[in-house]
Symmetry: C2
Subunit: 159 residues, 2 copies
DNA sequence: CGAGTTTATTTTATATATAAACTATTTAAG
DNA sequence: CTTAAATAGTTTATATATAAAATAAACTCG
């Protein structure tokens, strides 16, 4: 741009800064997702949503309700029903009944599910580390902090 | 954590920095995607992939091949076929034949497509600006630059 | 208590997605 | 020219996704 950029252009550039930020966020996410999806399929014959759901359960040994999985994974309840069906059919998780509330299932990893997830998690982490290899630790930390603030901003009540 | 964090823990924390970064990237993207999807559905009865495809065509008045759309949108060719089918059925885009290569289609916006996209783009940009409202311009710029480097890093040949 | 509301999950219809196989066309090599 | 390989796009089968309707259980309050 020339040195004669006026107020109009400056305002317009500011407006576009958010748009550009969003497009880059989306692109980076898709690039990483595509790589991880391919690696999960090639090495473990599984998918990203299944891996993510198992990761949620691994962190919650007491089990999670369908609705809680839906909220944590930021997807609809119907979607959770489908993924849980698949994983349950494969024997990796179980729907447990909650004696206190018969509307609810507590979903838990099976022993085999925990075993398989442990193996996948190690590989998964190494893929991610490799993908970010070359981005200085300091920059990763800054990015991390910025995204953490952005996440807090996006989930604030008054939006 | 205690003040007695040793070398082992420190190394482990470094390893987890990339993983945490990836999870936050994914969360922020999903939060924004969900909001934009709902707004597009409510106000324009359309979807994010359709809007994105039209945005690609808006920037390329000469038209784009199916494969080029696939590469730019980071999705498979079969997916593009489906979205283009939908938009063509709605009269918003057309498949034009390329006289020089009969395997190829040049996909272009129709006049009605350009009209509708222009309306949507204005609204869309204001939603994005609102979502980031409250994140200081300086931080948005820093984030933008970091993500730009990350994107370059992720698309480098030697990965 | 009991009708009406809320909450948890599933079902339905439809739209994206992928990978892999397939068709048609073009390019390359002899 | 002609076969082989590469390229562009579509089709198929399957897995995620959504929104909206349906089901079932739990809560509320007059």
């Amino acid at each position: 741009m020339s040195a004669a950029v006026g107020l109009d252009t400056r305002l317009s550039e500011d407006t576009h800064e958010s748009l550009r930020l969003w497009l880059r966020l989306l692109t980076c996410t898709h690039l990483i997702e595509n790589r991880v999806r391919k690696a999960l399929a090639a090495q473990f014959k599984t998918t990203l949503p299944r891996f993510d759901l198992m990761a949620q359960l691994e962190r919650a040994p007491q089990g999670l309700q369908m609705g809680e999985l839906s909220r944590r994974m930021l997807v609809t309840g119907g979607n959770i029903t489908g993924i849980v069906d698949q994983l349950e059919r494969a024997g990796l998780i179980v729907r447990t009944e909650d004696p206190g509330d018969r509307r609810v299932y507590l979903v838990k990893l099976t022993k085999e599910g925990r075993r398989q997830f442990a193996q996948m998690a190690i590989e998964h982490e190494s893929w991610i580390v490799q993908l970010f290899e070359g981005i200085p630790k300091r920059e990763q930390r800054t990015l991390n902090e910025s995204l953490s603030r952005l996440r807090a901003h996006l989930t604030r009540e008054t939006l």
